[in-house]
Amino acid sequence: MFARTSALVFSPQCGQVRNMATLKDITIRLKSIKNIQKITKSMKMVAAAKYARAEKQLKPARVYGTGALALYEKADIKAPEDKVAKHLIVGVTSDRGLCGAIHSGVAKTIKNEIANLTGSGKEVMVINVGDKLRGLLHRTHGKHILLNCKEVGRKPPNFSDASVIATELLTSGYEFDQGSVIFNRFRSVISYKTDQKPLFSNDTVSSSENMGVYDDIDADVLRNYQEFALVNVIYLALKESSTSEQSARMTAMDSASKNASEMIDKLTLTFNRTRQAVITKELIEIISGAAAL
C-alpha cells in the first residue's frame, strides 16, 4: 500500500527515456565531434611522421643492440638459479598517452614478474622510464620502485639518454644479481609485442663457465665492457619502444577518427530528420490554424 502510493507520487523514470533532442543540442554535439575528428586526424599525421623517422633510426639501432647482446647469447651466460636473490626490472614506456595498450602491456608484464619473484622469495626493484608507468605502478607496487625517469617520449631517444639512465642505475647503489629490460618490441606498423631482454651483473658474467674461453680479461676491462653493454641494451629498448609507441598512436588515432566520422554521419542523419520534423510540425500548425478560420 505504502509502496504503491509512493510510486504514484515519485514516478521515477526507469529505463531509457529520451526526450526528443532539439536541433540546437544536435548542432552542438555535431560541432564538438567534428572538432575532435580534426584533432585526432592531425595527431595521426604527426604520429605517422614521427613513426617514419623512428623506424628509420631503428634499423641501425637494432644491429647495434643485437651486437651488444651477442656475447651473452653466444657464451650462453645464465644467472645461477639458486644464488640469485636481487632482481632489477627496467620498464620502458613514455610520458604520453593515447597510444593504445602500450603502457598497460608493460605494466602488466612487470606486475606479473614482481608477483612471481616475490612469490619465490626474491627481492625486486623497478626502474620506471616514463611517467605513465610510474602512474600505473606506484599505487600498488610503490615500494618496489627505485627510480623514475620523466620527459621521455617528447623527442626521439638517443644514446645519451640511455647513458644517463644507466649512470643513475649504477650509482643508485642497488647491487642486483640479475635483471631484465621490459619494453615493446616493434614488429610492424600494426603490431608490437611486449618483450624482455636480460641484464647480467658483473659477478654473474665473470663466474659463468663459458667465460673461461675468453682470453685476457681483467676485472677492469670486464666492468667497462658490462657498463657499455648495459647502456646499449637500454638504448635498444628505448628505440624499439618509441617506434612501437608512435605506430600504436597512429593506429589509435586512425580508429578514433573513423569512429568520429561514423558518429558524424549518424548525427547528420538525425539532424536532418529532426529538421524535417520541425518544419512539418510548423506547417501543420499553420495549416490547422488557417483551417480553423
Binding site: Q57, K59, P60, A61, V63, Y64, G67, A68, A70, L71, K74, A75, N158, F159, S160, S163, V164, A166, T167, L170, V213, Y214, D215, D216, I217, V221, L222, N224, Y225, E227, F228, A229, V231, N232, Y235
Partner: protein, 181 residues
Amino acid sequence: MLAARLFRRALPVLRQARSYADAASGAPQMSFTFASPTQVFFREASVKQVDVPTLTGVFGILPAHVPTLQVLRPGVVTVFNDDGSSAKYFATLAAESLSLSEDRRQSLNILVSSGSVTVNADSSVQLLAEEAVPLDQLDVTAARANLEKAQSELVGTADEAVRAEVQISIEANEAIVKALE
C-alpha cells in the same frame, strides 16, 4: 692450397665445385659487425682483418682469433676487406668535440671507453663504437683547432669533471690529427 690451384687449372669445368669446397674447408669466416648507435658500417660481413685500438693496445683480429672482450680507446679502426682494400674509421666517444657530433653527454665518470669489441668462439666479431666516422669525413684543420682549444681549456680549469672531459677531448683530437697526417 697449392693442390687446389693445380686442380683448378687442370679441370676448369669443375672450378665452381672446387671453389665451394675450398671455402668450406678453409679457416672459419669472420662474421664482422661494426656499428654505432646511429649507423651500421658492417653487418655480419666477411672481412679479412680488423685493426682495433683498445685500452691495452692496438691489435689485429683475423678469423679464428681467440675469443676475447676488449674495451675501445678513441682511435682509428682499420678494416681489411677480402679483396685487399682497406677502410679506416675513427671510433670515439660521443662527447668528443668532433665536428659531427651534436649531443654532449652528461655522465663521464663511468665510460672512459668509446666502445667495445667482442670476439666469440664461432669467429664472429662485434665492434660497437659510441660514435664512428669514416676517416675521410674528418677535417685535419678543424681537429688541430679543437686540440689547441682543449689544451688551453685544460690549463685554465681545475674542476675534476671538466678536466676529465677535456682530457678525453685532447686524447681524441690528438688521435685524429695523428691519423690524418
